[in-house]
Every structure is written in C-alpha cells, then in structure tokens.
Symmetry: C2
Subunit: 334 residues, 2 copies
DNA sequence: TTGTATGCGTTATCAC
DNA sequence: GTGATAACGCATACAA
C-alpha cells in the first residue's frame, strides 16, 4: 500500500501562494474571491490533484452529504426477482447523483441489523434516511423523525407516525383493474391479496373490496406474500373454494405469473375461461404466457420522489406526502 | 429540526469521572482498562446515548469503515429484471454487515458519473472499491490499484490490469451445457452470445466455441447484449440463417426467455424441435414455458467473495483471484 | 492503568 | 477581498 500522501488545503494554498481560507472559498464556490486568484487556485488544485477530505469537512459542517436507504426486509427476500427494491434504489441513486450525494445502502432484515441501522442513523452519520417497504408497525421511522432526523418512507407508516411519505395510488389502480374486469363481463372476480402487514398489501385489497362490493359482487379472497410460490398456493386455494371464478386480480405480478401457470395446469384457459390482472408491471409481465395485463406503478419515480422530498426536508422545507398515479397496462390476459 | 445536541466523548468522560482517553479506550474495546472503570464508562455511554462521530474518527484513523460498490453500467440498464446486480449487492451487503461496515453504492453510467466515482474513491473516502460488470477496458480499477487503494473486480479486468478479481467458471459451465445438448443428440447447436466487450460475454462464447469445435460441429453464432429484446432479434436471425438448427445456448436467461417465445412464434416446439439452454438461473427460469434448463451461477456468493477478498486486501493480506463453480440445472427446455 | 497534549483537514468567525 | 485562528470530535504518543 504505497499510500501516496494526499495533498491538503495547506499544500494547495502554498502552491497558489494564498491562504488556506482562500483555497477553501474557491473550492466551495464562494463568490467573494477575485478572478485571478481563483484561477491560480484552480490551477494548483488541478496540478496537485487535490480532493477535499470529506471526514474533515463533515466534522465542521455537521453534514455528511450522504443519505441512507434502509431496506428492512429480510435480506433473503429483498432481491428476489421482484423489481421493487432495485427500482427504488435506482431512482434514489439517480436523484442523489444530481445532488452530488452518496447513497448508503442498509439491509436490516435481522433484529441486529435493525439495531445497527438505528445506531448509525441516530448517530447522524447520514443527513437523512429513506425507508423502503415497511413491515408491520416499525417504530424506527417515527423515532428518527422525532429526533429531528429527516425521514421519508415509501408508503404511509402503519403505526400512524407523522412521517412524510411517498406512495403510489394502490386503491385507484386496483379499482381501475377490477372495473376493467367488470367491463369485460366478469362476475366472479377473485383476488390474491398481498401480506396484510404491509401498506401495499392492505391498500390493494381495499381497492378490490371497494370495487367488487360496489358492483354488488361477492369477495373471493386468498392471501399471499407477493412471491410466486405464495401466488401458486393461493390460486389453487381459490380454484378449490370457488371453481366458478372467471377472473383474478393478483396484488403482484409475481403472484399473477404463478396464477397463470396454476390456471393452465388446472386446464383453465386465460383469458377465455379466467381473466388475470397483476400489479407492478415488471419486465417479465410482457413475456408471460399469455402476456400479462397489469397495473403499472412508477417505481423508479417513487425512489426519485422520496429522495427529492428528503433533500428538501433536510434543507429545512416543510413537505407534504405525495401519491403517485398508477396506470392499467392492457395486454392479453384480461 | 430540534437537533438535540449529541453527547461527545467529553460528556461521557465527565459523567463517568474519567478522561476522554479512557472513554475512547473503552469504546474501542482496548483491554488495558480496569473492569470497574470500564463498567462505569459503559453505563455513562448508555445513559447519555453516546454514539461515536464517524467523521471525527475517520479524520484521525484515516479509515472510513465503508466500501464502495461501483456499477459502471448505464443506469438505465443496471436494474432490468436481470438479477445479477441485485445479487451482487445482496452478497456484498451480507458480508459487510458481518464486518460492521457500510456499503456505498455508486452508479457510474454517464461519463460524469465515472469522474465522480474516480474523485470519490481516489479521495480515499472509502476503504476499498468493488467493481461490478466492467464494460470494455475500463482503466479505473487498474488506476486505483496502482494508487494503493484496495480494489476487487467481478470478472477478470479486460485491460489486463493486475487487479484481484472473483469470477464464475463461465467456460466450464457453458461446456457442460453444450455437452448436455450433444448427449441429447443435438448436432446443429447455435448460440446467442453476450456482448463481446464484457468478460462474461467473451468467455461464454469461448466455452461454446471450444466444445462445439471439439465435437467437429459448426459454430452458429448471433450476438446479443444479455437483454430480452436482443435475444429475440438474435433468435430470429439464427432461424433465418440456419433454419435447421436443433439447439440454442443463450448466454443469459433473459435472452433464452426471448428465444423461447421467438421459437414458439416460429412454430418450433421446445424441446422437441429445438432444445434451449440459458445462463444465470434467475428465478423466472423456473416459470418459463417450458421451464428453462440453465447454467446456474452463484451470484450472491460472487458478491460475498468479492467483499471478503476486499476486506482481506484492506487488511494488508495478499490475495489471489477466485473462480466460483457453475452448475447445470436441467429442467424441460433441454 | 490512566491522564495530558497534540493533530487529523476542514469551515467559519473574525479582523484587516 | 483576504488572511489568521479557533473550533469540530476523536485517537494516540507520551508522560505520569
């Protein structure tokens, strides 16, 4: 490790024949420096390959120019081929790149991981925290918010904490989907619901219930956890309990994908016998057999919006929750 | 922002009736502190909710306890439903969690992003850098390595830089797959190759060429870029040029998935008329129609190994490249 | 074993 | 407009 000594402000100052303070001003874009001097400093910086030491800067500014994205999901489940988390990460990374800040990723599946996140974030080692996909009533977002740490969640916090959030219009999206089924003449519409300890699961089920009840139709419900396996199980259960069903709304594309296969195995044709609609619009949705009609949620936008809100919050602005629109993508399964 | 003043070492020291130095020793687990004093300090830490300021610590230790994972892929492509990147992220996160270090994610699709990564990492703002999926002959890993910054790549660097890396056994995996096709009696075996500016693309094609040539069969090659669209295009091209082909090895599951559909559209039955094998074993592979036979690569392991190597490198150990084994998963497509 | 003193590289508050 | 100089919070060489 031939760790070449990194040039400091001091070195640049000497080379440019000015004081440290002046170099600091130039580096930070202060407008109160004469142009010739500024130019000289710039040259010295370039020649020496000077790069500011972030630790030293943070120590005095009390800022770290980095924000944490916490994925409290069990680590093993976070990155299945669900594209939700990758999408949020990507959106956040894009937005932070524009703000020249760093993204610190924290997986907090285990209780130990949860503690670690709490220590790290309460220790002000980041300027703000993004929470993705909360399970149950996680008290952490609320706690951080009360400590004055900027926090933004994806989805309304279930514990009722007054924490800013960005969400997609689950209820509206599902309502549109179910109405599409009704318009297609379907009358025995079932749903494979998502986990009922997550906002997304709860609200998508609510959207289904509302619409189906409004139409005077019965609720046919089985519950999964967004994964393919759970979708297959739920589909089998629905088929057993309601053999006459003619449509299924699945709360995730993964579950819809499994439903498609399960229906085929059961000898039902899609969409002729049973129409199927999913939720997410992951890339695979266009490649299923038949291609999946689904509710698209703007997942990268979600990540971007969360980040934008967080940055404004960190800048001291007051912010309001944001709800992003969803869109029905009609393919061949319904 | 009622930013409650965070307690410092000084505060803990006063409360425990000892000096800052002693508190520092206890906090850092030094063994040279008497048990009673240590206990008193521990209590004071707990009572005050003291959390060390990482910036201050980094400033003096010259360590940051965080490492960067650089994804030099164009941001738009990084998170398709390919599971390679998420898998590497997950592996790295797991391993770092054990080491109590943070993962800083850097997307470097644009040239500007590339510069940003260079500034950030050469500026020693992280203890080491992980590179995933290099395109072309990126000079950055080699440059960082020469600067004495610990670096580990996924895949052998194409510019021949002497940088430690972890890779999977592409050649061996593909050879096994092609031999499986030969054993099945296939004689007109085509391949949809990956991009030839990436190690994975190059080596998987080499594995195909070796094996097919060894068997005295012709090489039937079309090239894609690992995505579904490119896979569909390549499949159509192969079908046009070699209508008599009876098997296809695709260098990614995504391309294999598209090939499956393209073949069906062309009226070919899989595996009866044409056998298909993919590479990756993404989750979707088990759900394609028919389920995809594929070469599984241990992608999470890749992320873990890279991280483990990096940590050892940062600790001053000398390390050797690692090559992880692949495994043929036989389903119904071949 | 414990305390004292110093420095890490910045930014910010002053004078000039 | 520019330059000293004092923090920022911690780890550590050295003294006791």
């Amino acid at each position: 490790m031939t760790t070449a000594q990194r040039p400091t402000l001091e070195a640049v100052a000497r080379r440019a024949g000015v004081s440290r303070a002046t170099v600091s001003r130039v580096v930070n874009g202060s407008m109160t420096v004469a142009e010739p001097i500024r130019e000289a400093v710039r040259r010295a910086v370039a020649e020496l390959g000077y790069v500011p030491n972030l630790a030293a800067r943070s120590l005095v500014t009390q800022r770290t120019d980095s924000i944490a994205l916490v994925l409290p999901e069990a680590a093993t489940r976070v990155f299945s081929d669900d594209q939700v988390f990758p999408g949020i990460i990507r959106g956040a990374a894009q937005e932070l790149e524009a703000a020249d800040k760093q993204l610190v990723l924290m997986l907090a599946g285990s209780p130990a991981g949860h503690d670690r996140v709490e220590r790290y974030t309460t220790g002000r080692h980041v300027d703000g925290v993004l929470f993705a996909s909360l399970h149950g009533e996680d008290p952490l977002p609320g706690r951080l918010a009360r400590l004055g740490i900027p926090v933004v969640c994806s989805g309304r916090p279930l514990d009722g904490a007054d924490v800013p959030y960005v969400d997609v219009d689950h209820v509206g999206g599902v309502a549109t989907a179910v109405r599409h089924l009704l318009d297609g003449g379907r009358r025995r519409i079932a749903t494979i619901a998502g986990p009922q300890d997550m906002v997304a699961g709860i609200e998508r089920l609510a959207g289904y219930r509302n619409t189906v009840t409004e139409a005077g139709l019965p609720e046919l419900v089985a519950t999964g956890d967004f994964t393919r396996e759970s979708g297959a199980t739920a589909m089998r259960q629905l088929l057993a309990e309601h053999p006459d069903l003619d449509a299924v709304f699945a709360a995730s594309d993964l579950m819809a994908h499994a439903a498609l296969r399960t229906l085929r195995e059961a000898g039902r044709r899609v969409p002729d016998d049973v129409a199927v609609i999913g939720f997410d619009d992951i890339e695979t949705a266009a490649y299923t057999e038949p291609p999946l009609t689904t509710v698209r949620q703007p997942i990268v936008q979600l990540g971007r919006q969360m980040t934008r809100l967080l940055l404004r919050l960190a800048a001291g602005e007051a912010i309001e929750p944001v709800v992003l629109p969803t869109e029905l993508i009609v393919r061949e399964s319904a």
